[in-house]
Point group: C3
Chain length 238, copies 3
């Protein structure tokens, strides 16, 4: 993919966001993309290849929102980027002139997403990739329920250190009527801390992570392994 | 290695092709290099450091073929790139002025291949690296036997998703006298599909991969683990 | 972090040195940083994020030494770079104008070290990051004891191939009164070789690695796994 990009736009600066998304895990990809986009310069082109449906009838999309451009499969990976966007423009990729030929049935990252992303980075207009798409696939964020004294949410992503990121963000915590005293997950009750070393090495804790989400961690260890956490696990802030 | 490259050619764009080749697996490196070279812009310099013989008497080579340049150990890693090339120029690296000194006995990637590659990228001529080499080490591709109704080949590479790439390419399949009905490997009989999701999640299949080779895969899983595949395993298309 | 860097200095060339340091292993980070710095061009900015104390009261530092700049946490990661430096200038990072706001409590790599490093790469003066720091945290290198006929040292780093790098460097070996005949570690007695293939495949050996340190290796295998080595293991050259 990088070779294809550099063949179209030799001056492109290419950054790998992550190679640690589990195979076909669209929800984790959607979470990571939304969490990191603000750290990139305006008009960054993001290319996403978490694409279990490659070769099937699923469409390819190019999206403009939050001042950036996004290219990838129409499988929901752009849901979290789009669901809180003030405005967005979504196009289906149909312009064959922007693709690498022959287009394989198993590597659209190389043959569709990378070349379209490179052309956009080189100044090709979003309009030229194809017609507007009014019904992109959207996946729902795991529900967050705030009552007066408790918030219920779920684990949405395990990072490479074994930290468990949840669907509960700072704004949900601010809607609680009193200061939360504990975070309950997997039969454990954890203190809400500011940073890892507030707890002894090997001890679990909760904190607000650098993207604003409630995170379950172990100081110097893996919360996922130690507490047996996976995406979907329920978490309650009390 | 990248620091050395940037010290010689500050404007070099550097791409990591893979860090997933098993230690010293020259055959897999030869396969991956040949499979990806077409995706890079003309005159790309490829530097290869799959080099179990580092420090021994094995030579260092610089090769021009397919419109690209290749630098690395003379251990066969360039075999597949060279064996189907219309023309090629092979040089032994002997010009000490192009190396990083002192040249260590354990990291020729940093001390020989990276600086020679950077000098070539910066415009140094291939002739200046050293004299022609008429007998580079060549490793044979695993044999492919096509009879009228069957093709016999072998697994040559397991990728990081656990997909098994084989020595059977599209041209071999086109020489069959009738449309193949199944692919047999490790006591399993698999359908020949176009893409992964033609089969239910967790089910094995065969398809033609994005580089034109027969691939054994599992939709959403690892064929290597599920079928117990390793390089060398026999595969038959019927 | 890379997005933040490119937002400040769009022309920055960014190289990943390693992602294989164990979580919070400051000693290994200090070793790798010192071993690789000579391979980079003059005035490289190194950003280090092995940072178990992120969010606590530990300071952030920017250091100029060996013709390079270094930015990271004040936890000892710069010890080996600084302990043999003819001169050095150490500053505490206090200038809020150089940071990304809001500064999180869990990702100073993104909010402090990356932006400060990018500003330095873009030409901001070291003086402008903050006041001089006279007492950076220093960790001691594992001791090396040279008697006339033996050297005692310790394993300091296991690389991703399972090679064990030790605290014994070339200069210690040169102080022996006679040529060493064996290297003893974990109840094994190993020959001192020049390169890996001097020994049969699967056999352990010792050699001087590409950064000048005594290395324990297995030809084509993992010394760490085969001999059960970890950082801290004692090694004796006789």
């Amino acid at each position: 993919m990088k070779g294809v990009v550099l063949g179209i736009e030799p001056g492109a600066g290419i950054v790998d966001i992550t190679h640690d998304i589990a195979q076909g895990d669209i929800g984790s990809a959607a979470f990571v993309l939304d969490a990191c986009r603000d750290s990139f310069p305006p008009a960054t082109v993001f290319v996403v290849v978490v694409d279990p449906g490659v070769g099937s009838a699923r469409r390819a999309l190019a999206v403009r929102t939050h001042g950036h451009l996004f290219v990838g499969p129409d499988n929901g990976v752009f849901s979290y980027v789009m669901d809180n966007a003030a405005d967005r423009e979504v196009r289906e990729v149909t312009n064959g002139e922007l693709l690498r030929h022959p287009v394989s049935a198993t590597f659209h990252g190389r043959d569709i997403f990378a070349p379209v992303g490179a052309h956009l980075a080189a100044g090709v207009s979003l309009e030229s990739v194809g017609p507007p798409c009014g019904d992109p696939v959207m996946i729902a964020r795991p529900g967050v329920t705030v009552s007066g004294s408790a918030i219920h949410g779920r684990v949405v992503y395990i990072d490479r250190f074994g930290n468990a990121l949840t669907s509960i963000d700072r704004s949900a915590l601010e809607r609680l009527t009193r200061t939360p005293s504990s975070v309950e997950i997997a039969a454990a009750s954890l203190p809400l801390c500011r940073y890892y070393q507030e707890r002894p090495a090997g001890q679990p804790l909760a904190l607000i992570d650098s993207a604003g989400f409630l995170e379950i961690a172990v100081n110097g260890g893996s919360a996922a392994r130690q507490l047996g956490l996976r995406p979907g696990a329920e978490v309650v802030v009390k």
